[in-house]
Assembly symmetry: D3
């Protein structure tokens, strides 16, 4: 199976579905992580160019933890918009990954880049299969199934599906720690420890299914629905 | 796996999850159909006792189509209420079936018996596992996973999971036709053909997943969540 | 009465409110069909220009079935965006039709063009009446009442109003069949028969009101509400 | 047409749909007001028997304003419960009125008697048509269409339909003033003027449709849906 | 200020609002804990009478941690129902506590006793102020403000208000540990550590407001609304 | 405390939170009113430039009633869009006001400018604190708490918090009357008296909390939540 997780910033997919991706990878599925923005405002000390460069390297290290491919879109952090050029770039990138299932941000996520990134990704679900929309990569044969990822605090997010990630929790933490610059940034900006922060969500989602750690998802309900929870690892 | 479908009236589970039960049965799972009321008002010509007797025989014939067990609770049709005696009777009946997964009516179903039957069933989910609640059958070892069934017209019901029932559609129709008295009653009371009626729902649910016929479900989201769509056949 | 149905692609309004439009037309109301995109990706074999040309002719034939006017906006299929130019073009087109009631796509429709088309149309509801917004056609005297159309599979759509279209069902089918290229496209892309597909929705919506075929709508609840279901035919 | 409004207490239907009932009556429809409880705790000075007696006379006076029939159920105020006896009494009373449309309290009304009264009424919608459920009055031929009434403050109530009651506003006020004891009680208990209080709701509902006064309703969405806003006066 | 928290079982209010109660108590407010059932099925080894006795002593010890009063209703665990006798007993008990604010279980809590306990408590909100409803304790002068408590896993619960309980977290844990029998029961029945379990919820709720531990609430939106988050400690 | 109310048009914040702003100002908080568009279509007789000029003067007079600062963004009325330039302009303007709390339009407001203005404002909540996003004014130290304002008719808006504005109602009316051109425009376009119109909303919101006049709000639930109703005056 081919799996694509689309995050707005470097580290988003690690936080929201890193364990699930690790499980896919562990069983041999082909995983791609696609990142919309370059994270170029995520530093209290570096320049935009410097931090973008750091973050790309961190994203590569994180993807390498599970042998995932990385697609780096490079849009400006905090300024992702849904226009024709961006739609077309997403269509091309998704076709490159050619996924059976996609993981995307939900529509009521707290961060504008997340919300807009999720909207673009969902709006590409059908166009990626249309041959007359021509991009570098060819049209996909089949609409991918879409899972919507949880958000920070689980605000306004009612899980439909849970993935027990207890056995890959350490891998998820390794992926998270690859984003060392963000650990520092979160400490400066919000005063939080990164791993502890992430673990709060996996603990409470796990509590609901009786597991130590879990990640939570919803299927995009829109027509046509291409699969269900059995596509989860 | 052990499967229990709880309907308010004879024919409810056939309409709402008959195909799914047929798939479980076909792969060797143990299926039980539990019916709360005796259907004793469902006739324009027979007495209450006569129609209740007819309907029990029809329910037995329908269950026999897929080799399912039948639990007949015998409450008065249109007058199911949620009191202590009924709660206890449901606990005992569910323990008799001892299911891994239960199918129940949802809370916004159009018929009061459906709504109340679903409420009682859901409220028994935890008590069935409590040893100090003593009934004829012993406490179950594990809380069953609960799937909420669709309703007529799909009013206020947003499916999470779909089961493609195309290959067992004929079996579902056989189960439906076992309830011959209702075919007549629906014709007299509402002027509808039974199979055509049921097929409208399976057609539109199937349309969403690209199948000829499907049935739709939601998982009960309440803590603790014991499973997911992978428990569906 | 003047009626305007705004669809994203040629064939959308036929599928979602073709029967209702046929009823309006049959009783003498003036009906306009406005189509946002040119459908220029809807073919597995033709070029963009060729298929757009075919689809315009099909849309004209369909509108002719009920004597409706056609407004062809000509935006690129799959790439409708909500910008100032498009907003202004919609204001002008709506003023041309000068409707008492408008039918539009809902906000959680499955297709991005549908969702965005509906958003633009709704956002024009008030500006069309503002004299200082100058377009080719003059400002309308009154805000139109807005009905939101159903979607494929009825996903996330809870009907408020139903129109029994049984007596105009054949006319609706004629309108659908006018879009012959899409019948072919749906067969190639999804393997479905067009009329059968459309009939699933009208059957299940009709089931709820005891009619053979029906179409379902909601009124836009936003202030000011200009009318109600009595505006339906 | 035959119209039945079911309120939990004397004065409820006047507040929530008094204007609408006045419009029905004015055009010649047969209106019945059914009141579940006897209002026997609604006084700071009288005994239960005294205030119940006063309130029945007030209810009769109010009904007389529009020539409506009155059905007085006489349950204890604040202690309406949904049991078999009460369900049966409601079935009989509804059959007596034999309505084409019913107005009922909604499920999230602020007062337990309102919520429970609405639930019982809705749950009788189908049983009233079943011949084998025998009561003093015979089974009705057809399920009535159900409109859910607004609540105080409009909390959690999203209107679907509005009735412009500007031209019958004075009649509504006369009906309200028939409940003189409640005017006094509200002044003692909450310090409010009755007419002013009621007028706040009709003003804000009217504001949405551009009328001086309006009342707001939803159709019960449950299967089968028997009509729509065109049943409103 | 007078504060009343109403839980279905011994330990429920400690889990869901123990920290908040500790804050009220610490600032001098009068706190009462009212417990609907006697917890008499909560043991794998004791008899019903034995475990009920143990749990009452534990509840007293827990209340003593913060100097709260305890009202022990003594209904059978797992069999709380909403009937007239229970409604009246709740009215009397609430009047005894005479609260300015009440904390109650929400309507979609996972456990039937929780759901029903919350429903009864909310339905008493108005009757407690009605003089003609006579109980041992006199009618209250004012309707209390109602806060709805969170639930396990936060399923279907969208917080409106958060209370930072970091500084009373140890007190909350002491209250929880007073229920030693449940620690054992949870270990036997579900295999979980009690404090760790409770801490998952306070951690994730705290995460949203940037605190180490928090508890989450909603105000009951029903008319009349008597206060807001400023009533929280 | 520093308070920022962001309205789409001159007069929006006066209508939706004018009383609340007056209360903040009266107790010494620093209030800023920021207006996205110049209102340049709001006249039946003046040119765009003339009416924009009139409305700016009216907005200044209104702000002066409570000693508030005014930020005039000057976008074209009816044509506010969410693009990079506008996002950046909002970031800069919000930083200028540097608020602890912001009041914004909600996502389901009836007017496109309102909806889009609210979306932009909410999407700036986090970027305003990011140092690497450089604008004329420096990055803020802390994310502001966001209150979502009510809308006309309260359509789809469920209040969480109410502010009793009875004692500043006259001030609110003075602010409203400062927008004399709109009083005229509303009379011409919709036939309504401005103060009466506004008072309908404050009356019905007040009714819920037992006050003569109130304004209603929700907290933005998105992570991180920075405060609660105790931030209201």
């Amino acid at each position: 199976m081919r799996v694509l997780a689309i995050g707005a910033h470097p580290d988003d997919v690690e936080i929201l579905c890193g364990g699930t991706l690790a499980k896919y990878a562990a069983r041999g599925d082909q995983v791609t992580i696609m990142i919309a923005t370059n994270g170029n405002v995520g530093s209290p000390v570096l320049t935009k160019e410097q931090i973008a460069d750091v973050r790309r390297k961190e994203a590569e290290a994180s993807a390498a933890c599970i042998g995932a491919d990385l697609i780096w879109m490079g849009y400006d952090d905090e300024f992702l918009f849904h226009d024709r050029q961006t739609r077309m770039a997403f269509i091309n990138a998704i076709r490159k990954a050619s996924p059976d299932v996609m993981f995307v941000h939900g529509s009521n996520d707290y961060h504008p880049d997340h919300r807009i990134c999720g909207e673009i990704a969902i709006d590409c679900r059908i166009p990626v299969t249309v041959p007359l929309i021509e991009t570098e990569y060819p049209a996909m044969a089949r609409i991918p199934h879409v899972f919507v990822m949880d958000n920070l605090g689980g605000v306004g997010f009612e899980p439909e599906h849970y993935v027990d990630i207890t056995d890959v929790y350490e891998t998820k933490c390794r992926m998270i720690r690859s984003h060392a610059s963000q650990d520092e940034w979160l400490n400066v900006q919000y005063g939080m420890d990164y791993i502890e922060f992430v673990t709060k969500m996996s603990s409470v989602r796990g509590m609901v299914i009786g597991a130590r750690h879990a990640e939570a998802f919803r299927s995009l309900p829109a027509y046509p629905v291409m699969g269900d929870a059995s596509l989860l690892p």
